[in-house]
């Protein structure tokens, strides 16, 4: 006679078969071994279930063989936990979740007001307040007091631009004043940036006083705050911006921009004298940004409430990683108390249109999958570039495509807790099973 070693569940299974097979005889001794040396409440419970069910089945076998039956209640198999089920708790373990606010963010970002209304000696109908944060953008650690603002670019002469952008401005390219009106009334610009690019000696070499006249025209045409930009020529810009600042005296414009490689003192002096704020522009270099801000304050006597920074925007796919981290580092430094970096920031988001993905008809690389229609690629490129920098710390965006402006304003509003213009609350509970048309 052989001895068979079986486990409880083997036995149970065996007996289950017995119920179905008539005339089976059980021969030999049955030895029961418990697997695993441990125990614990769950294992004991499982063994208990197993034995109870064996008992019920033996009872049935006994009944079939004519013995006394009916004394052991049969347990439904449903109540039998498998070894796996027995590992799973019966109830959810209760929990509450929380996390502390960042304690190092003790210092606020400066607030800078742009635009002056009649009560402040200007002629603007609206003003824009930038900065004032005590946390990273949209973080719960502290309220974000001011929204993100968008200034739309206007140029003092027709320039080359991506087709998707150009089609919005065909009718106003020749008139900066009309162009400015359009971006405010049609495209929702909070501000207008007038770029005096024709002053560049290698472009048209327009005189500083002609440029100042354009600024006056634009001030007449719209009543939002203005950003006044030069051509980017470091030799000519100081003179141009000085004249422009004078022409816009008292309007609290943002003068764009002061840079370390030019006569920034002259530009700063003009901003100060005529009551404007100044854009402190550096190229992806946090230490240069500190240096320029320090010089503007210490050397040129610019007030803290008159400085906005442009740490440079590189397009998505073309250095946005550097621009993003540079801006995030600057904002974090400001929040923990670096007094040379805690100023609002501006982004030349229009740079996104330099990325070939935003404007080129097809990929220049034959290995690529189809790039699809460019009129849809461009605006999302500008949106994504701006949005990444909004998350890093940019307060003010200089942009060009109306759709990009609208989406960026809407999403940043939602991130601040607004409805972003959405009409109704969205039920997302059944995205798994939803049918999508088209």
């Amino acid at each position: 006679m052989t001895t068979t070693t079986i486990t409880l569940s083997d036995l149970n299974k065996l007996l289950e078969n017995v119920l179905e097979l008539k005339g089976v005889t059980i021969e030999g001794d049955i030895e029961i071994e418990f697997e695993g040396g441990g125990g614990g409440q769950e294992l004991l419970q499982a063994v208990g279930y197993e034995i109870a069910q064996i008992a019920a089945r033996l009872n049935n076998v006994a009944g079939m063989m004519g013995g006394p039956a009916g004394q052991v209640p049969y347990m439904q198999p449903m109540t039998l936990p498998s070894p796996i089920q027995s590992r799973i708790p019966q109830e959810l373990i209760p929990a509450s979740f929380d996390v502390d606010p960042v304690s190092e963010w003790k210092h606020g970002i400066e607030e800078v007001v742009l635009g002056a209304t009649s009560s402040d000696g200007g002629t603007r109908k609206t003003t824009v307040t930038l900065g004032g944060e005590h946390a990273l953008p949209f973080y719960f650690d502290a309220p974000m007091p001011n929204p993100n603002y968008v200034s739309i670019d206007v140029f003092d002469m027709p320039i080359g631009m991506a087709r998707a952008v150009r089609m919005n401005y065909e009718d106003v390219l020749e008139s900066p004043a009309e162009w400015a009106k359009k971006v405010v009334s049609k495209f929702g610009a909070d501000m207008v940036t007038i770029h005096l690019i024709s002053t560049d000696p290698s472009i048209k070499d327009t005189s500083a006083s002609d440029a100042a006249k354009v600024v006056e025209d634009v001030l007449q045409a719209v009543d939002v705050p203005l950003i006044i930009g030069g051509s980017g020529n470091p030799d000519k810009d100081p003179e141009v911006l000085e004249k422009a600042a004078e022409a816009a005296e008292g309007e609290r414009c943002l003068i764009a921009s002061a840079n370390l490689n030019m006569d920034y003192q002259r530009i700063a002096a003009a901003a100060k004298e005529y009551g404007h704020a100044i854009l402190s522009w550096t190229q992806l270099e946090i230490n240069a940004q500190k240096e320029l801000n320090r010089k503007l304050m210490k050397q040129c006597g610019i007030e803290r409430c008159d400085i906005v920074m442009d740490p440079t925007t590189a397009a998505l796919g073309y250095g946005l990683d550097y621009a993003y981290s540079n801006i995030e580092r600057i904002r974090l430094a400001g929040l923990i108390g670096d007094q040379e970096l805690n100023f609002p920031m501006s982004s030349g988001t229009t740079n996104a249109w330099g990325a070939r993905e935003s404007w080129m008809a097809v990929s220049p690389l034959k290995e690529d999958s189809d790039w699809g229609p460019r009129e849809y690629r461009g605006p999302i490129w500008e949106i994504t570039t701006g949005l990444a920098l909004a998350l890093a710390g940019v307060d003010l965006f200089m942009m060009m495509h109306p759709t990009s402006v609208q989406v960026l304003k809407s999403v940043t509003d939602m991130l601040r807790g607004g409805d972003g213009g959405a009409d109704a609350a969205t039920d997302v509970s059944d995205w798994v099973g939803m049918m999508i048309e088209g």
Binding site: I84, F97, D98, V99, S369, I436
Partner: protein, 464 residues
């Protein structure tokens, strides 16, 4: 990671400087452990019996704060999670966000196969490699377990990409797992309703599981604790992605959960899932696609480790892939390439001489445009301090003197090496033309603003 200096890691190493790991010293190896460019198991002696305790301790100390979870098997398997910092400049982010795109079980077989192929074949060249998509999320829209299993089988037959099986019905998930468990799919999702059955599936099939508690972090943590107590730790947390009015709450949940995880709340230190495709519940067409990319961008920047999207239009995929690359590019890698004159293809005396900046991104873009279009030429790379062409012209890092320097230092005399004696400036540096002519005495031509246009420019402007 519980330690942050090479000395702390060094303590647990054999200190023999045997070199078996490929590093000259144990200290050098230790610094690679700390910057996470090498792993403890790459030290062969440490794997021996005698160092068993050291190895285990060190592995624990070096484990990332956010647990790593693997989805799929073989070459296509994806690892998500694994981060140690909240800001990429503090180290780098590890394991780029995995992008899954959906299919559903009420598609016709033909549509299904086409869509799966579109997902797995998509590619975009970028700095020497292809950006691609990672996974297929199969949604049960039929409510029918058999149909879901059939669709899953068809997807598996079509692709080796990792799978996400999506249904809140355990019976449906079970049917999917019956055919796909060996592929180690992520099952979506356990909720406060179905959690016991889903936990059983995860344990039975040994697959990772997503926990879903829309805008309820307490419940999410409760689920995570419960699953962990059952021995299930390959978890992905879905705090809910509300596309519009609830966006601020969703954003806040991601921030809080990741901050807690990095700060040592291990109960909730798992990879996070965002579902940008929820936006298709409220709109459609281009508007939904745009908004979906917007959500994908937000949660790629802020802590999404895996996400599910719907639109596979190029205008969706291109920005999504590039923002992911932006966030996950290692900020420790060099910004610049060496200056000098490089040959592309096999240039001869009639080949053009292009000039560009030494910003790595610029260089690789120009170089691949030239090579991909079979243009034999010389490429003069100027030391612009790693700044791109347009910005370097504006900032003075790219000027005539620097261009002359570059040719002089490389010992490349354009007059001598070519018949034409001309160089081609990038279109964005056109304003330097006169200066460069004066400085070098060479003929200076103006190329297109974007190197992708060079092939067409060659046809119209380059005669030789």
């Amino acid at each position: 990671m519980k330690i942050n200096s090479p000395l702390q890691a060094y303590e647990y190493l054999p200190k023999t400087n045997c070199g078996d790991c490929g590093e000259p010293t144990c200290m050098a190896f230790a610094s690679h452990l700390i910057d996470r460019s090498m792993k403890a198991e790459e030290c062969p002696p440490l794997l021996g019996e005698e160092y068993n305790d050291n190895y285990n301790t060190l592995a624990d100390l070096l484990a990332p704060e956010i647990r790593e979870v693997v989805i799929g098997t073989g070459d296509h398997a994806i690892t998500i999670g694994g981060d140690d910092v909240l800001y990429r400049h503090k180290l780098t982010f590890f394991n780029k966000t995995a992008f899954a795109y959906d299919v559903w079980d009420t598609m016709s077989e033909e549509e299904l196969v086409k869509r799966v192929n579109d997902i797995q074949n998509y590619k975009k060249f970028y700095i020497g490699e292809f950006l691609t998509l990672d996974a297929v999320a199969i949604r049960c829209t039929s409510g029918d377990a058999d149909q879901f299993a059939q669709t899953t089988a068809k997807v598996m037959e079509t692709t080796e990409l990792p799978l996400l099986l999506c249904s809140l019905d355990p019976e449906v998930l079970g049917a999917g797992l019956a055919v796909a468990a060996d592929r180690k799919p992520l099952i979506y999702a356990a909720t406060t309703e179905n959690w016991r059955d889903v936990a059983e599936l995860a344990l039975t099939h040994n697959v990772p599981v997503a926990l879903s508690a829309p805008n309820d972090p307490d419940a999410l943590k409760s689920l995570a604790l419960t699953f962990a107590s059952a021995g299930i730790t390959d978890l992905v947390l879905d705090p809910g992605t509300f596309p519009t009015d609830g966006l601020r709450d969703s954003f806040e949940n991601f921030l809080k959960i990741r901050r807690a995880g990095i700060d040592g709340q291990t109960d909730i230190a798992y990879p996070l899932m965002a579902v940008p495709m929820t936006v298709w519940e409220r709109s459609d067409g281009i508007s939904a696609a745009y908004w979906e990319s917007v959500l994908a961008s937000i949660f790629t920047v802020r802590y999404g480790d895996i996400m599910i999207m719907h639109s596979i239009e190029p205008y969706s995929l291109l920005p999504e892939l590039h923002i992911r690359d932006t966030v996950y590019t290692d900020p420790r890698k060099p910004v610049m390439v060496d200056a000098g004159v490089f040959e592309v293809g096999s240039p001869d005396r009639k080949s053009p001489v292009f000039i560009t900046a030494n910003f790595a991104l610029t260089y690789y873009t120009v170089e691949s445009d030239l090579a991909s279009n079979d243009i034999d030429c010389y490429l003069g790379v100027v030391d612009t301090d790693g700044i791109g062409v347009e910005a370097a012209v504006a900032g003075g890092q790219l000027n005539a003197a620097k261009i002359k320097d570059m040719f002089d230092s490389a010992g490349f005399d354009v007059q001598e090496k070519t018949d034409h004696g001309a160089v081609i400036l990038p279109g964005l540096a056109a304003r330097l033309q006169g200066d460069v002519e004066d400085e070098t005495g060479l003929t200076v031509m103006i190329g297109p603003p974007d190197s992708g246009q060079i092939p067409r420019w060659m046809e119209s402007k380059w005669e030789s």
